[in-house]
């Protein structure tokens, strides 16, 4: 039993379930596109930020013969499994002969075909604990002790055995820590010190007797990372290395990140345009649907006028009904977005191929609340015109049938 006239909007919604559901679906769609789109853009931005923060080096030097720009770019920046090597003498050459170098360290890459935990390729990154300035600060957040031989620190997507070990090329490594998620393929990388890396390379050689040229771990490095001294121009140092050191290519890491940032801004831009288009269309559809529905109910509102409901209150009923519908629809849209994001987060990350890191739960909650408010505001806008028009109806005319 209805006990208050304020129950009228709720009763209208409940008695016409299909009609109300249609409006709720539009509102849900608005919320879904806004929230989903925002999450995507924020995740891409977070991914890029975590990438830039993680790199540390100003310059990366790679072998000239590295197959294409894509290979060293994606390995170093995004951690896609790959391996390439150059003579270690170039490391010495750069260290001794190029001016303006503050810090310099070498890294080794090995892309394993298989580890005990999975059949995906695992990227192994070996770093020199004595000279490294890029990886160790980041590892220190999860594990502050120095890595011993056969110790490893793994990315967030690598799942070690129950006893915190991983078998690779017949060697057992002890996993000391699991790193924070970066949203890149570095999440499926493993970090070991140089000594362990050399053992692994030898083991790799033993397992792959048919490879063209065995990798001699004492004589090669994969890349050289450089931090430039204050006061020196990074581009000049890059130029000098490229000019004076043969068979290598020096790249400014900023440029590598710019390429990723470019792709990212392209994708973000596309998402934003799509979101805007969906919104405009949905708001128009909602406005039309709501106006039509209200027009159909003119007689009902005319009766309320006759019974003594003021024009302002009638407008209030219309706005309240719309607000309830968009609230329920908006909440459903947000819940659906969260569920789909949680279910398909991994697949989205892989499909986009760019750094992708979901925001913190608190940020997601705030975004959800803002989305809900914006959706309800859009709903209010679509019903405002209807509310005004309905409140101005000539009750007598409507009840008479508007045909005298």
């Amino acid at each position: 039993m209805m006990r208050s006239v304020y129950g009228l909007p709720v009763r209208s919604i409940l008695k016409k379930p299909l009609r109300s559901a249609a409006l709720m679906i539009i509102a849900a769609f608005l919320a879904f596109s806004a929230f989903g789109g925002s999450l995507m853009v924020m995740s891409l931005s977070n991914g890029l930020e975590s990438l830039s923060a993680r790199l540390g080096a100003d310059i990366v030097v790679v072998p000239y013969s590295a197959a294409s720009k894509v290979s060293y770019d994606s390995v170093i920046i995004q951690g896609k499994p790959g391996q390439f090597y150059m003579d270690a003498k170039y490391y010495e050459e750069i260290k001794n002969e190029i001016e303006g170098i503050d810090k310099i360290t070498a890294q080794f890459y090995l892309a394993s075909a298989k580890a005990s935990c999975c059949s995906a390729r695992l990227q192994i990154i070996g770093f020199d604990p004595e000279t490294d300035f890029s990886v160790q600060p980041w590892i220190a957040k999860s594990y502050s002790t120095e890595l011993s031989e056969y110790d490893a620190v793994v990315g967030s997507d690598v799942t070690p055995n129950a006893d915190m070990t991983i078998e690779i090329y017949g060697k057992t490594l002890h996993v000391r820590a699991v790193l924070e998620k970066t949203g890149t393929e570095l999440d499926s990388a493993m970090y070991v010190n140089t000594a362990t890396m050399k053992e692994l390379i030898l083991a790799h050689n033993a397992k792959n007797p048919n490879q063209e040229r065995a990798i001699d771990p004492e004589k090669v490095v994969s890349s050289v990372l450089i931090k430039v001294m204050d006061g020196y121009d990074i581009d000049s140092v890059v130029g000098n290395i490229n000019l004076y050191v043969r068979q290598v290519k020096a790249i400014r890491t900023q440029n590598m990140i710019f390429d990723v940032a470019d792709s990212l801004s392209g994708v973000s831009g596309m998402i934003s345009v799509l979101m805007a288009a969906v919104w405009v269309l949905s708001v128009i559809i909602m406005a039309i649907a709501f106006t039509m529905m209200m027009n159909e109910r003119r007689r009902e509102f005319a009766v309320l006028r006759v019974l003594g409901v003021s024009r302002a209150r009638i407008a209030g009923f219309v706005l309240t009904e719309n607000a309830l519908v968009t609230l329920v629809g908006g909440v459903c849209g947000i819940i659906i977005t969260v569920l789909l994001t949680l279910l398909f987060n991994g697949l989205i990350e892989q499909s986009i191929g760019l750094p992708f890191l979901l925001p913190q739960p608190s940020v997601m909650l705030l975004t959800a609340l803002i989305t809900l408010l914006v959706t309800m505001a859009a709903g209010a806008l679509t019903s405002a015109v209807s509310a005004y028009k309905i409140s101005k109806i000539d009750a007598g005319l409507v009840l008479r049938g508007e045909n005298e």
Partner: protein
Amino acid sequence: MKIKTVIPEMVMTIFSLVILLGSFTFFAACPVSDEGNIMSCHYAQVMVTALGGLLTVLSLTALLVPDQKVKGGVCIAAAFAAVLTALTPSVLIPLCKMPQMHCRLALQPFTILFAALTAAISIIAAILHLKRKKKS
């Protein structure tokens, strides 16, 4: 048979077919390796395919049988089968450990999504049929 009254069963059938066909195509688990190693996620996939088949049969039965009580009962059975399907990857049969493996990226989320939707529609359909039976 009015179109309006069979919409839930039609939707159930479509979702069941998605589970059945998708489980060994676009959201299949990790492939069998060249060495012939079969990982447990493969068995999860096979189970999902089988349950997808069961769901399809139940949905079609609910669609074609005229009696409201029987329809309602079959929809309840379908709801239980759908819940079982959702639990199969990972809960009932373990998947690969690494999150970026295809079974975790595709098989698990798609199965959960479509199985949950099938369960929800089955419950709604069961309620509608049993209510109609009560009315008549």
